[in-house]
């Protein structure tokens, strides 16, 4: 499995254990345990480390539970009945120590991991990160490439081997930007800018979506991120065709729509992202009409480009 090789054999026994414990299917494409970048690798190694630390006390506890219950069954004449065995200082010491020490150890993993893998922290790299601005709308994603002066809806293309710096906000309700293979997710929130640093090392087509429920069109906030070699990325960026992304175009995006087919904008108003984040543009419109009861909605059902 790929992530084993990439981890440099540092924790081989852990991975052997994982391979035994979890079905091979978990390492398939788009699994969080088959990351294609340093952030995803860091996250998933921490998952496995924490898992192994805890299994070390969980498995003996489970075995002891079943063993004690079976041996001390009422019908077992060989088991010694000790109705007055209700306290033992030594055992108390041990039962408080084992979980405490485990949590001490795990606490270290948590402290170091939280700082090293803080999504806001830039990745250690000599290359200058590619800037991408992501905006969640009801119910589609807008990705703005300010340096390239282009933007796309429900389509994310990134170059491999170069750090990616995302600035993320929402034009309506909460969402979360998530590409499992890339690594960490982070919330997209109206009136706030969150940052996410990622890097992709392997070309391919991946699975991306919103990981925070945002209303009826939530399942359609799917996009297929594509990672390509840098020269192909440059070629793609130069060849993008489309209308200019200005305030009027954003106004159209603010209307609710579902399962929007990917399309692009050529030419981007550079102030747009910050205007949305600073709430200088109105937020997403929500449903077109208030309703008291259930029934049909005035939502563009399966729209393409507006």
């Amino acid at each position: 499995m790929e992530f084993i090789r990439r981890s440099g054999g540092r924790t081989v026994p852990q991975f052997c254990l994982l391979a035994m414990a979890l079905a091979p299917s978990l390492a398939r494409a788009d699994s969080i345990l088959a990351p294609v970048g340093p952030v995803g690798r860091g996250d998933s190694i921490i998952i496995l480390d924490a898992l192994v630390i805890m299994l070390a006390i969980v498995i003996p506890t489970m075995i002891a539970t079943l063993a004690f219950a079976w041996w001390y069954r009422a019908s077992n004449a060989r088991a010694v009945y000790r109705p007055d065995f209700t306290y033992s200082g030594k055992i108390e010491l041990i039962v408080w120590s084992i979980p405490t020490l485990t949590i001490f150890f795990l606490g270290g993993v948590i402290w170091i991991g939280s700082h090293k893998l803080d999504p806001f922290e830039p990745l250690p790299s000599t290359a200058k990160p590619l800037e991408i601005e992501a905006v969640a709308f009801d119910w589609k994603w807008l990705f703005i490439y300010p340096e390239q002066g282009i933007a796309s809806v429900n389509q994310l293309v990134v170059p491999v081997g170069r750090p990616l710096h995302f600035r993320i906000t929402s034009a309506s309700v909460f969402n979360a930007f998530f590409v499992p293979s890339f690594g960490s997710m982070i919330y997209a929130m109206n009136g706030m800018v969150s940052q996410l640093n990622l890097q992709v090392d392997k070309p391919g087509k991946y699975l991306g979506f919103s990981a925070h429920f945002s209303g009826d069109g939530f399942p359609d906030m799917r996009f297929d991120p594509v990672a390509v070699p840098p020269d192909q990325f440059a070629g793609w960026a130069a060849g993008v065709k489309g209308a200019r992304l200005n305030r009027a175009a954003v106004g159209a995006l603010l209307k609710q729509s579902r399962a929007v087919k990917p399309y692009a904008y050529k030419g981007v108003d550079p102030t747009l992202f910050d205007a949305i984040a600073a709430q200088k543009l109105p937020p997403g419109e929500g449903p077109q009409s208030g309703r008291s009861g259930p029934g049909a909605q005035n939502v563009v059902p399966h729209g393409g480009a507006p």
Binding site: L26, A69, S114, V173, F178, P180, G286
Partner: protein
């Protein structure tokens, strides 16, 4: 005249809620007609609806909880079926409806199934274990119950009139604000939860007072049964956490009704605050449920191992430790908000520290079994199922408490699997064990063991088949609350999960069959001694079912295991303690206050949801008038004469004497 309410509120275009709502309504009406036709209404009114007896209120709580458990389970079946059918397809539920189903499932299961069941068992058991006659405020107790029932009623009314929230069980703004949720769904949620929340808060006040101030003579704090300790911890959490919920929902209500901007996108509102506040309640809420569950396991494991609880003081310490630390962890519900390494690490560590308290408890149960004589009754099976299941749920929980792990697993199906693992494996197993364990005390007959064990095995296997695949799809990246999806890798696992829910349905069928079969065989299963399990605490020292005054003479407690101690001395002396001296007993009078209050609360809630302002005023005036009438009552109590107490107690003592001589001769 009727505010926003019109004929368009009836979902005539949506057959599923329409038919479901209509069936429930007809069944309800049918029940009422049947009860009246049979002439049972006066009995129901006198013995149950207006009862302030903690035992009857407890049983009504449990009944409400079981009904809502079935309702929430039907929602669960619908969700599993939808996701099994929704690969590259729309399934059978449109998003507008599916979103209501998962929102209702969460709300109902936590607030209207688990909470009433936990509080119901607390109601029934705590005063008996403390060796007293009732709770501190019996009428308030009745008010609590009926307000909870009001909340449950409002949630279910939304099936047929209007809609329920489509925002998830915690209505995160801005999605839950008027702009994005203009319908009445969120309003149903708000008022149902607010009204039942008042009931829960009153329960917290009532039980903290009861446990702190009213105990049998000699029952010091460190002689209280473990269940009472966990009930105390749980109620302290209620006192601290529920006001936060009330305030948070009140702010959202102001946003929606009066144009405030606490959490809106505009005018300086800050939706992040809602998440902080709601989880400042929401995380302790989990421990409000699970601490009494731990108490139930402590009682069951100790009784059926025929040993006192191992490390009692350690268990008390661990309970209070969890009680306090549970307030310091809420932020782990949104590590992905990006609060930075320091904050995330601090809350990650505080969250995993809770596992220390839980771990200590686990080991103490283990050593309670060590050197015991274990009887594998149904409650004991549930407890063993819990011990092996909960450690895995705890493990995945601590995993999610590691921020970088959470960055991949937040909101995923892995998370869904985790919290079902701890809530079903921890709380629901305990509630089923508790019902099984205390049923003979409540109704005077044991439950059929064969059907109970069948329910356990179906439940355990069904649980694993349903939820283990969710861990897998979570690792495969699947997020929660998807009405449809197009990822082929997920599909087979969701089919397995759907099979699992079929097995769980088998478990539910066995459980219901058990209740029916046991009722039909109740004469064979009769418990005459009041102590069917060879119990250790005071609830087993009185008859099954206990008389209205619980104990003819208040017990004198001399040991941490009050009734075990009495039995031991009786066995040594080969006779029961001396003939007690009977005195007249004062008991609180029944009162319709709770029921009438809840009736007006229902009007208020419904009127606020639909903006029927005159009806709201009628409700408020009515509720206030009820309070005034109650406050001015002249005779709050009645007296049961000593002869009557003696007559009732004599039969119980005779059965115990026979049981004792039987035990001595064998």
């Amino acid at each position: 005249m009727f505010g926003k309410l019109g004929w368009d509120a009836i979902p005539l275009d949506q057959p599923i809620p329409l038919i479901a709502g209509a069936v429930v309504m007809l069944l309800g009406l049918g029940m009422i007609v049947w009860v009246i036709a049979k002439g049972w209404f006066p009995y129901l009114w006198k013995e149950w609806i207006t009862s302030v007896d903690h035992k009857h209120i407890g049983i009504m709580y449990v009944l409400l909880g079981l009904l809502m458990l079935v309702r929430g389970f039907i929602d669960a079946i619908m969700m599993r079926a939808q996701q099994a059918m929704a690969f590259h397809a729309g399934g059978y539920l449109p998003p507008e409806h599916y979103d209501q189903v998962f929102s209702a499932h969460g709300t109902i299961m936590v607030l209207f199934a688990a909470m009433p069941l936990v509080i119901g068992i607390m109601n029934f058991v705590v005063p008996l274990q403390l060796g007293v006659r009732d709770v501190a405020f019996p009428t308030l107790n009745s008010v609590s119950f009926w307000l909870t029932a009001t909340g449950a009623l409002l949630v279910n009314v939304s099936l047929l009139i209007g809609e329920f929230a489509r925002t998830g069980w915690l209505p995160y703004p801005p999605l839950s604000e008027l702009r994005y949720s203009p319908g009445v769904g969120v309003d149903y949620y708000l008022w149902a939860v607010q009204i039942s929340g008042v009931g829960t808060l009153l329960t917290g006040i009532n039980f903290v007072t009861t446990i702190l101030k009213i105990r049998a003579p000699g029952m010091t704090y460190l002689r209280m049964p473990m269940f009472c300790w966990t009930a105390l911890a749980s109620c302290l959490l209620i006192l601290a956490a529920f006001p936060v919920l009330t305030a948070t929902l009140a702010m959202l209500t102001l946003d929606r009704y009066l144009g405030f901007h606490f959490f809106t996108n505009e005018a300086g509102g800050n939706a992040m605050m809602f998440m902080n506040l709601i989880w400042a309640w929401g995380h302790p809420e989990v421990y409000i449920l699970v601490l009494p569950a731990f108490g139930i396991y402590s009682e069951v494991i100790s009784t059926f191992s025929s040993k006192p609880l191992f490390g009692y003081r350690s268990m008390v310490a661990a309970t209070l430790f969890i009680c306090i630390v549970s307030f310091c962890t809420w932020l782990h519900h949104f590590f992905t908000m990006g609060a930075g390494g320091d904050v995330n690490a601090a809350f990650g560590i505080s969250t995993s520290i809770i596992a220390v308290g839980t771990g200590v408890k686990m080991y103490n149960w283990l050593f309670t079994m060590y050197g015991g004589r274990i009887r594998f009754t149904t409650p004991m099976l549930w407890s063993l199922g819990f011990m092996t299941t909960f450690v895995i749920g705890g493990l995945t929980g601590v995993l999610l408490a590691v921020p970088p792990a959470d960055f991949l697993l937040h909101n995923s199906m892995f998370l869904v699997a985790h919290f079902h693992h701890v809530i079903i494996g921890g709380v629901v197993f305990a509630l089923l064990a508790g019902i099984e364990y205390w049923w003979p005390k409540a109704f005077g007959y044991r439950l059929d063991e064969r059907w109970g064990k069948a329910a356990f095995w179906f439940g355990l296997v069904g649980f694993y088949v349903t939820f283990m695949p969710m861990y897998v799809v979570g690792i495969l990246g699947m997020t929660r609350r998807l009405q449809h999806y197009d990822v082929a890798d997920w599909y087979p696992w969701l089919l397995v999960s759907a099979v699992g829910i079929l097995i769980l349905m088998g478990g539910a069928a066995c459980q219901i069959t058990q209740l029916v079969v046991s009722f039909l065989r109740r004469h064979e299963l009769r418990d005459t001694t009041g102590d069917p399990w060879d119990g250790r605490s005071l609830e087993w020292a009185t008859a099954s079912p206990p008389p209205v005054f619980n104990f003819a003479v208040l017990p004198q407690v001399q040991d941490a295991e009050a009734y075990w101690d009495v039995k031991r001395r009786a066995r040594e002396a080969e006779e029961l303690g001396g003939q007690p001296h009977y005195a007249p007993v004062e008991m609180p009078r029944n009162s319709p206050t709770g029921f009438v209050c809840a009736f007006f609360a229902t009007l208020i809630g419904f009127a606020l949801i639909w903006h029927i302002w005159w009806l709201m005023i009628v409700g408020l005036v009515g509720a206030y008038a009820t309070f005034v009438v109650f406050a001015w009552r002249d005779v709050p109590e009645y007296v049961i004469p000593a002869e009557e107490v003696e007559r009732i107690d004599r039969a119980d003592r005779q059965a115990r004497q026979e049981a004792l001589s039987g035990a001595v001769t064998t």
